[in-house]
Symmetry: C3
Subunit: 158 residues, 3 copies
C-alpha cells in the first residue's frame, strides 16, 4: 500500500501514528514471516497509561470501549508498519482482527465495541483494511484494559 | 474438495447449507488470501434469531451448547464456500477452529461443547475436516450467543 | 532448527520433553500445512491430571500460573515436534502464542503468567522462539485448567 497516502489519511483525520510498541524481552510486537504478519495483542495506551480501564457494562461506557478499540487498532497499524521497515509499502491487506472485550456477563454489544476498530481500519486503509473479525467477551485483560486487539495481515515478502 | 460430494453428505444428514452470512459494512464474513482463508467469528443463528442464548452452566444445557457449536460450524462452512466462489472445490482442508463458549466460572466441559463443531466438520469433510482446536470459556458473547466459532482453512489459490 | 541442540538445551535445564498429546477423534494436536503449523490449545497436564487447577486471583497463585504456562508451552513444542516427524529440524520459528488465563475479574497480571510461556520458549529456541503474543483472561477453561496456550509456528515444507 502507499505509505504516504495512508499517512495523509491519518493527518486528514488529525490522528497521529503513535510510536510503535517497544520490543519486550519475552516477545515481539509483530512477527513477519513470508507473506504473513502477526501483531501481538494491543491494549490502548495513552502516555503510558491504560485508556479507559475497566469493563464494559460496568465502569466503561460503550463510547469509551469504541475509543479503546480504535486506539488499539491504530497501535497495531504502528507495530505493523515498524515491523515492515517503517513503511506501509509492503502491507497488502488486513486479514483477521480479534477483539477481546472486558465485559460483565450481561454485556452483549461486543460487535459495537469491535466496530470501533473495524471501521477505523477500513477508513484508513480502504477495502484492503476489511478483514474477518471475531469479537468476544472476557472477564479481565492485562493492566485492567477494556479491549485487547489481535491483528493478522498479508504482506509482500521483503 | 468435491463440492457435489459434500453437498450430498449434507443432504444425507438432512442438513441444509444456510445462506452465507451477509457482508457487513465494517468487516467481511471470510477473507481468502493465497492459500489461507479466515472465517469471521460465527454465532449460531436460526431465522435471524440467536440459537440457545445464554451461558453454559446456567441457562444453556450441554446438548444446546453442542447444537449451537454444530450450527456455527455449518455457517462457517457456508461462509467459506461463498468466499471460494460458491463451491468447496478450492477447499483443501480445515486448519484451525477456536470455540469460545459463554460459561459460568464453574463450567469445565468446553471440549464437549466444541466437539459439536469438530465432530460435525469431520463428519462432513472427512479427514480434511480434522483441525487443531482450542476451546475456552468466556463470560459473554455478541447478542448473548452461547458459542462463537472462528475457523481457518487451507485453500487452493484461484 | 537443530533437533539435538534443542534436546540438549532441555536436558541442561533438566526438563524432559513430554510425550506428544494423543490425537483425539474429533481433532488433531497439530496441523501442518505448507510453511505453517497450528498447535491445538494446550492445557498443562502432569501424569494425566490438570496442573494447578483453578483461577488466577483465587485458588491459583501467580507462580503456579507461570508454571502452568511454561508446562503448556513445553507440551506445545512436543506436539509440534511430533507433527514434524519427531524432530525440530523443520521448525523455523514460533510466530504467535495466545495465552488464555482463567482469572477473576479483578486480575490484571495476565502478562506475568504468559511470560512463563514466552520466556521459556525463547530460552529453549533462542531468537527463533520469540513470537507475537496475546494474553487474555477467561472465566473458565477445559477441565478447570488455569491456562490454555495456542501456538502457531513457521516450518519448512516436508
Amino acid at each position: 500500500m502507499d505509505d504516504e497516502r495512508i499517512l495523509d489519511r491519518l493527518r486528514e483525520l488529525d490522528i497521529e501514528l503513535p510510536p510503535p510498541p517497544p520490543a519486550i524481552a519475552a516477545y515481539l510486537p509483530c512477527v513477519v514471516h513470508g507473506s504473513l504478519a502477526f501483531v501481538a495483542g494491543q491494549i490502548a495506551m495513552n502516555d503510558g497509561v491504560v485508556l479507559h480501564p475497566g469493563s464494559l457494562g460496568e465502569r466503561v461506557s460503550l463510547d469509551e470501549g469504541v475509543d479503546a478499540a480504535r486506539r488499539a487498532a491504530l497501535q497495531a497499524l504502528s507495530a505493523l508498519r515498524d515491523a515492515l521497515g517503517g513503511s506501509f509499502e509492503r502491507l497488502e491487506r488486513i486479514l483477521q482482527v480479534t477483539v477481546f472485550v472486558a465485559s460483565v456477563p450481561s454485556f452483549v454489544d461486543h460487535p459495537k465495541v469491535a466496530n470501533g476498530a473495524s471501521e477505523f481500519v477500513a477508513e484508513i486503509l480502504g477495502d484492503s483494511g476489511r478483514h474477518a473479525r471475531a469479537a468476544v467477551g472476557v472477564p479481565s485483560l492485562p493492566l485492567g484494559a477494556p479491549v485487547e486487539l489481535v491483528m493478522t495481515a498479508a504482506v509482500r515478502s521483503a
